[in-house]
Amino acid sequence: MLKTPDWELMIVWYFFLGGIAGGAYFTAAIADNFGTVRDRAVARTGYLLSLPLVGMCGMLLIADLGVPRRFLNMLAAFKFWDPMSIGAWMVGVFGLFTFVSSVLSFTSSEKMAALRRKIGLVGLLFGFFLASYTGVLISNSAMPFWSDARLMGALFLASGASTGMAAVSLLMFVTGATAGEGWGKVKKADRFSMIFELLVLAAFLFMLGSAAKPITTGHFAPLFWGGLVAMGLVIPLVLDLVGHRVRALAPIAAVLVLVGGFILRYVVLMSIQA
Amino acid sequence: MTTNLIDLQHSDVIMATSNMAENHPVGFQWVMKAKERGAKFIHVDPRFTRTSAAADIHVPIRSGTNIAFFGGLINYAIQHNLYFRDYVVHYTNASFLIDPEFKTATDGNGLFTGFDAAKGAYDRTSWKYQLDGEGNPKRDLTLRDPHSVFQLMRRHYSRYTLQMVERVCGIPQAKFEEVAKLYCSNSGREKTGTITYALNLTQHTNGVENIRALCMLQLLLGNIGRPGGGVTALRGHANVQGATDLELLYHELPGYMAQPLRDAHPDLTAYMEKETPKGGFWVNKPKFFVSLLKAFYGDAATKDNEYGYQWLPKRAKADAYSHQHIFVDMYNGAIKGFLALGQNPAVGGPNAKLARSAMQRLDWLVVKDIFLTETAEIWKAPGVDPKTVKTEVFFMPAAPAAEKDGSLTNTMRLIQWHERAVTPPGDVTSDAEFVCTLARRLQALYAGSKKERDRGFLAASFKYGDNPKEPEMVEVLKEINGYATEDITDKDGKVVYKKGQPLNTFAHMTDDGKTAGGCWIYTGVTVEGPDGKLVNKANARKPADDKDYLGHGWGFAWPANRRILYNRAAADLAGKPWSEKKKLIWWDAEAPGNEPSKKGKWVGLDVPDFNPFLAPDAKNGDKPFIMRTDLVGGFFGPLNDGPFPEHYEPIESPVRNLLSKQQNNPVAKIWKVPDQQNELAPTGSAEYPYVITTYRLTEHHLSGVMSRYLPMLAELHHSHFTEISHELADELALKNGDMVTVATPRGKIHVRAMVTNRLKPFVIDGKKVHQIGVPWHWGYNGIAELPGSRGDITNDLSATVGDPNVYIQETKAFMCNVKKGVV
């Protein structure tokens, strides 16, 4: 007779947006550091996207507290083995990185750009953290299914990467920043992330076995299989592979990936709390 | 209760026939202690309850068949020679010979000798002892004489075989035999057992006989007056024992003395003559009675005016004023006004619909209570248009126990004091204050009256202590205890009691007006300390310990702080304990006697229930049952329904009586009430096929006022419900939680069905009989936020029928129908 924390939509959004923020920043930092000058657009889009997202994350996190004004109490304690504790710290720290990187993304000074790249390399670690710690957080609870899933953090990370990249690519499409090779590289990286995510998901389900029932069968099964696996991963991949020459399909694929990423958090959180 | 709850831990076997764990949970700790020490615990109840959960054996019994059960045990003990012969021969009337005319119900097809069908009552001429030349009962110590009580009893219960118990009670033979063996073999010198009872035995049209049957079994097994034995009567309200001792009853005056009858007791002399027995401790009744009159009327009571005897209200009839009589009379218009002080008859009484209709016909109704009860809002009852109710209702807020000083007497005769913790708010008053104020105001109104009948009332003092408004409760206790009305001197002229000094013992009461005492059995509860101040022993707080396991330093148990009654029976004829293990009091021949020249005294772990200097070999020194005229325990004990308990079916029953032709108790009281207000279901009625019993839940209190109105308690049960077996639920296609309608010829209620394994159908004479259970705590008032705190009134189902001795209702066994849904 266990008790669910009753984390609902706000937390689903938090998990989702945190994943994108982390994924986007990491994409930006990689592009910044390892891409060419022409990939600058990718870097700027990623940095600039992650900043407001982390901000929203922070707000969601605070808003969801029973006593929001006591958010600071989280910062009064630091428990390095406690995902919730470090998570709260990291949102703040990562927020700083996104802020600095965003500001620096407008610089024309090469010195500053170099600094930005270095900052990006450190910040991407925090981005990764934000994308994955939420998974580790729930997998280290007493709840069945969550606590059985050793790959929850890994899965959230893969999903954070794929949605972050999808978001960057979508934003680039919308803002018309698709010129240059950056956009293509993002999509390529995203393709890789999605394939990896599918693999992790398969391993995740395999390792869970019957413990995965809350999402693989019953009420949430259609959403999981249809919404996440088919619509959120397989179809975008197919669209991407088969139709990557048709420009208009790319944003559709990106949107589907994003929806899939949301669905992943939604089914995982809600299936045992509903 | 003859014993003390603490002493339960010394029992070798305990048989609860009441639902003790649920209704007396605090006392139940001693059952758990006994179990920890290895005692066996049996629970007899139609339902499997929280008491059964703690039991080694649960014995399901069809409601209303208790005499068949106890009769079966008596028969078993006799047949298997398991009774305690020495005890039975010497300490009971088993050896006494009865008038040869007398025949038991075995020979009278369910009736004892002397039944007068026209009167619906017994002529008891043959129900008496054979006397010898000196007027003493004849005895046969071999117990062989066919007219001996023992042989009559044996013959009477010879029909109560294992098979018969199974057919009547529905207890499988093997289970009954297991219980019989277990219970009856735990007696004799080394072992004792006790039986608890409460309403499970009383609320029947043979309620008093049920209890007699239990007592007979205990006598037979030699269990009374001994440690770990006794009759564990578990009483109701926190102070119901006190209310009984002080006689808030229609037929008795404080201290168990009859309320005078108009015709039989025209004057004090006639009363004393008729009411004072020739033997036993009651020969002192005149002292207690005159002291009582002195307590009532003070200086106005003198020898010349029979101590005010004529001012006492007299009963016109022996039986006209019980709770049930009152509501029938009220309905019929004979009663116009009603004071309900701490009572909720709109919910709590039997046939509550009748009670509500009756109260709606009153001119005025005063309710003094700590909550706005259903009775206080009788004009708002569901289905009633308030405009049509002419009753003028006055509600007087009352202070509960925590807001006043006073004493409570609990189930083990223990008087305990409580102190006011907080002052009552606003215009809330204590009951004592209300009563005294009311009395004084009435006295003022009658002040000029010259009528003789008003003199006593005008003379009575309602002043306790210095503040006329607020009675000082210790003063009330002192008046109950008794005090000297003038200086009392001994034969040498030395003052033994100064005027006003509390009496140390009822042995000091006199019948010459020199002592006053409100309830003789309580004497000793207040005494004068060495410093001249009043010592309130009800407030004594020294807990029990190894040296004083009965806790004599805690509170004060009447009489004389004695914890186990009839404790002379704990020793053998010679005054030695029956066994080392079961010692309680014994004769110490070497102890200093009451005079310097004499030696010998009863000593031990309790206050002897006996003249402590009466040697075992002195006259009557071997007779423990001092309250009885014949000084021995009575197997043969005439009540209105016979000298031996006989099984009859409840007034409403699913089956014919298998033990005799006599279906119901021939002398039971069945009220005729106009307007179909008291219809009864015929035996075996197809319209009302299920047995129903009503009962309590730990979480709720009585009519529910003190629990349904309190969120923390009210929330413990979802809502009103009925407990139904899976078998019956299947027959009715019910699921756990479905709403059902429970109906009887008197009314119907809508409740939720709790389908459970804890009830099982009975097999009665080869036929399946279903029984359901319905708690009765719900009513139409409650907490707004908790819809389940309100519910239909269970007592709308019950009938106005009663036991012929005390007129208690039959709410433990009657018949009903159950239908799915709200119909």
Partner: protein, 258 residues
């Protein structure tokens, strides 16, 4: 640290009177709750923010055909290794000098991580205060020389309060007695400080297997997988990172430039 205090709930002595449940509510001033229809006497179904002691009523037919009605007063276990405490990011949940686990209401911010981290479903969220609630082991009482309200109210000593080591010894004897009396499934739950969760400071004597009472047979500390799960995440991060790295290292034109 003071000697560890404990509560020992001996279900073999419980009569299901719920005095403990009510005493707890009263002492801690926990408010009214609308009950559930549970189909039995039990209410409420679970621990709540207003029910810290919960008496469970379990009807269990025995193999003999007789019925057992198992009555058990359940409570926060005050685990020696407490999931709730480890989970709490604010430090609101702390261990007292007596070894009990308590929530500081002034520090708790209502994140509810503790709720999902209790292996026994004990901690509950209170919407009004916005904080997490559970049995306090009557912190105010034990610091003033009184035993817990629930233990005090229990008429049968089914709930006993004292030093943990004393109680464990007593409990072990009681199990032996019960076994000798024929209760062959009598067992202690959480008494062993070498057993699960380092032992429970509110431990139990059960008459049947733990699952009968809705207790996990082998409760585990939720935080036990933080390292593994984190390493797996790191692994996954490395793979993704490498993938992205390769994508951006690619000096050739990307394929999206059509």
């Amino acid at each position: 640290m003071a000697r560890t205090l404990a509560m020992f709930t001996d279900t073999s002595l419980c009569i299901g009177c719920r005095a403990c449940q009510v005493a707890c509510k009263q002492w801690n001033e926990l408010g009214l709750e609308v009950p559930d229809w549970t189909g039995t006497y039990q209410n409420h179904t679970h621990f709540t923010d207003k029910t810290f002691r919960l008496v469970r009523f379990i009807e269990e037919p025995k193999p003999t055909g007789d019925l057992a009605w198992l009555l058990m007063s359940d409570v926060c276990k005050h685990c020696a290794e407490a999931g709730c405490l480890d989970a709490c990011p604010t430090g609101a949940i702390y261990r007292t000098e007596y070894g009990t686990v308590n929530i500081n209401q002034d520090v708790c911010n209502g994140c509810r991580y503790c709720v999902s981290s209790c292996p026994f479903g004990v901690v509950s969220f209170n919407e009004t205060t916005g904080t997490a609630k559970k049995c306090t082991f009557c912190n105010d009482r034990i610091h003033n020389g009184l035993g817990p309200a629930c233990a005090k109210a229990c008429p049968t000593d089914s709930i006993q309060f004292g030093f943990r080591d004393d109680l464990v010894t007593k409990a072990q004897k009681r199990v032996e007695t019960l076994k000798a009396m024929g209760f062959k499934d009598a067992q202690l739950y959480g008494a062993d400080s070498k057993g699960f969760l380092g032992g429970l400071n509110a431990f139990f004597l059960l008459l049947s297997k733990p699952s009968t009472y809705s207790l996990p047979e082998q409760p585990k500390l939720p935080q036990r997988n933080v390292v593994v799960d984190s390493l797996l995440s790191v692994g996954s991060a490395i793979v993704i990172g490498l993938g992205a790295l390769l994508a951006f290292r690619d000096r050739e034109q990307g394929d999206g430039n059509a």
